[in-house]
């Protein structure tokens, strides 16, 4: 019988075991590193699409855009989510990591896969965007990298189920998981379904790139790829909502107002998202009209209902907690007295607000059959998902980092003043970027496009001059967000390395 090293964190009261602590640390570090690369690519790409700057050449623009999609959407988000898997399946339950070796195997596969993708993209072997729509072909090594990363991620999410199953035996919980873990359970279930789609599409595509099989149907590719691509956004939403609940609990001591309601909402995510992933295909050939209507509209609204529930439950629980602390004057004293200077709290507040109003509403609109005709592949789509996965998920994860650093890394946050403004700066930047993109997209400005003045084209189209303002707005927002992103990376790495040690 091995000896497990537990410690009790003095700030949060969490019981933390050494091997799960290390797993969380390294997954967070990898997430930070990939966000740093992805963010640098983002800045270069944004400065290229800002017409008065137009920084990069065409080749580098497409190459760096591919890498931005991969490093930001795939690597940063999933590394952080695997850290959350370890956190919610061990630390939150006060039990140990039962399969640390599997955790390290998953981590190694993701690291190698991510490294391989980065290298092959930078070498110019995969200028295909992260969607790699066939028959646009990348070097086989690219697909291999994606498969390695995805297998690692799959193992990472499977660890959740192993840990919570065995934790019960050791008294980690008696009947029900804490809500934070329950949210990650929803995320992990969706992740396993999603990554199965990933295998179903990337393995044949690898074989095709190796000339072992002759043909991958482009329409089928799109269908299965988005079976991976869209539900994985619902992993992000589940993880983000779990972070909202946990942060509110850690920072203001709030308690879910109604566990039944919040848990039901997570179950709605699991049930409906896999059958609501085809709004990417609304203006594709092949699929029938009723298929499109049922899949994208009917099921989507039930997942949206779930988000509406969380949007009520979390602010309500924060209000209840703050009122209990004595901020009871008038309707809004609690809101005024909330800890706005705490970046973990402001992080989730900004995340909730922007996710709902920027990402959520535009998602529902653009996912409608008829509206999609006037939005598909325009920049409005890019604006929409910078409202969800950046202004929502990324800012929530950034906020949670300010809790993980003291709890898990046992370090104080450095540069407290900068840390206080970081979520606001990043939030304002991303909101400006996203609104700029959506507005330009309304005039038909395409996404993934190097030159909207079309020099060198046989015919030239001139956009409505109004887009100049929106393109510049995107550029200014992008620069602000990049500054906020750099601050986040510097503060996090700085605190991990130089922060004052807590506890010893």
């Amino acid at each position: 019988m091995a000896n497990f090293q537990f410690r009790t964190d003095p700030l949060s009261g969490l019981k933390i075991e050494k091997s799960s602590e290390n797993l969380i640390k390294w997954n967070v570090i990898a997430a930070l590193a990939t966000l740093a690369v992805g963010g640098l690519m983002a800045l270069l790409v944004a400065l290229t699409r800002w017409p008065s700057v137009h920084l990069l050449g065409a080749t580098n623009y497409y190459r760096f855009l591919t890498l931005h999609g991969i490093d930001a959407l795939l690597a940063w988000i999933i590394f952080f989510e695997v850290a959350l898997v370890h956190f919610t399946s061990t630390v939150l339950l006060g039990t140990r990591s039962y399969v640390p070796w599997l955790g390290w195997l998953a981590f190694a596969l993701m690291l190698i896969g991510g490294g391989v993708i980065n290298v092959i993209v930078l070498l110019g072997g995969a200028d295909v965007m992260f969607t790699s729509y066939v028959p646009l072909k990348a070097d086989p090594i690219y697909y291999l990298g994606v498969i390695l990363f995805a297998v690692g991620a799959l193992l990472g999410f499977i660890i959740f189920f192993i840990n919570v199953t065995l934790s019960k035996r050791d008294g980690g919980y008696k009947r029900s998981l804490p809500l934070g873990s329950f949210g990650m359970a929803a995320g992990s279930i969706i992740a396993v379904l999603t990554l199965a789609h990933g295998a179903a599409i990337f393995i044949p595509t690898l074989l095709w790139a190796l000339n072992i099989i002759g043909y991958v149907d482009p329409a089928a590719y799109r269908l299965v790829f988005w079976g991976l691509g869209h539900p994985s956004q619902q992993i992000n939403v589940s993880a983000m909502v779990a972070v909202w609940y946990m942060t509110a609990a850690f920072v203001v001591g709030s308690k879910p107002v109604n566990e039944k309601l919040s848990r039901t909402a997570f179950v709605l995510y699991i049930l409906f998202i896999n059958v609501a992933s085809e709004h990417h295909l609304l203006v594709d050939p092949v699929l029938s009209t009723w298929h499109k209507i049922v899949n994208t509209s009917y099921m989507m609204h039930l997942a949206v209902l779930a988000s509406m529930i969380h949007a009520f439950a979390i602010p309500a629980s924060i209000e209840v907690a703050l009122r209990r602390q004595g901020f009871t004057r008038g309707l809004f004293e609690w809101l005024k007295k909330a800890p706005w200077g705490n970046p973990a709290f402001s992080g989730i507040a900004i995340s909730i607000l922007l996710f709902g109003f920027l990402g959520g509403i535009t998602g529902v609109i653009f996912g409608t059959e008829q509206f999609n005709i006037i939005r598909h592949n325009t920049w409005a789509i890019t604006g929409h998902f910078h409202g969800t996965v950046v202004a929502g998920t990324t800012i929530a994860f950034m906020g949670f980092t300010y809790l993980l650093i003291p709890y898990i890394f046992k370090r104080e946050i450095i540069w407290k003043g900068f840390a206080t403004i970081q979520p606001y700066l990043y939030g304002v930047g991303v909101a400006t970027l996203s609104i700029g993109m959506m507005s330009a997209g309304q005039f038909g400005v395409p996404r993934r496009h190097y030159d909207i003045t079309f020099s060198g084209a046989p015919f030239s189209f001139t956009f409505d001059p109004a887009i100049d303002m929106f393109m510049s707005m995107m550029g200014v927002g992008g620069v602000l967000a990049a500054i906020g992103g750099v601050l986040y990376i510097l503060i996090s790495f700085g605190s991990i390395i130089f922060g004052k040690k807590i506890g010893d």
Binding site: P218, A219, L282, V283, V286, M308, A316, G444, R448, H449
Partner: protein, 174 residues
């Protein structure tokens, strides 16, 4: 708390506020839920779904057939075609051009066949901003009735390689 196990009985009924919120959200969702299919029936602009399988060679023959029969001029090296509204019309996507330049008549209804010779392209008609996918191996049929005269451009809005941003075509409505 979200970070602790809930108490034994957490399956509690909803409070009044919660019931109102969920009720309003549910009604809103139901309205959107019903409206989209209704609009599909009463509205005049819906994404089409009529599709046929086609090889690049066969599609190319159809395009060239139309061009040979109805060519009325040339612009920047592209044939300008004024097809008969009662016959099918074709737009061919390839790296990196939209071929040919079509000249359509206002108020006539056309069946526009769209396909790609090589990889995936995005068919974006500007400035009216309507967008559809052009996939290789598939013939996507758009039923289209031009309602305004003038000059339109077709811009590719699906990444299709290094020349993607030079893939611009043209269309006239007379």
């Amino acid at each position: 708390m979200a970070i602790y196990e809930p108490e034994r009985m957490w399956w509690n009924p909803l409070s009044k506020d919660e019931r109102i919120w969920v009720g309003v959200a549910l009604i809103w969702m139901l309205v959107s839920f019903i409206f989209m299919p209704i609009y599909h029936v009463v509205g005049s602009q819906n994404p089409p779904s009529e599709t046929y399988k086609v090889t690049a060679e066969d599609f190319d023959k159809l395009v060239e057939g139309m061009v040979a029969k109805y060519k009325v001029g040339e612009e920047n090296g592209f044939p300008v075609v004024h097809p008969n509204p009662s016959e099918p019309i074709y737009v061919r996507a390839s790296m990196w051009q939209w071929y040919p330049v079509l000249e359509l008549e206002k108020g006539k209804t056309y069946r526009l066949h769209l396909s790609s010779m090589d990889i995936q392209h995005g068919f974006s008609i500007l400035p009216i901003n309507m967008n559809f996918m052009a996939l290789p191996g598939y013939d996507y049929v758009l039923k289209l009735t031009p309602t305004t005269t003038g000059e339109f451009h077709i811009v590719c809005n699906e990444y299709c390689g290094i020349g993607h941003h030079t893939m611009v075509g043209k269309m006239y409505v007379k």
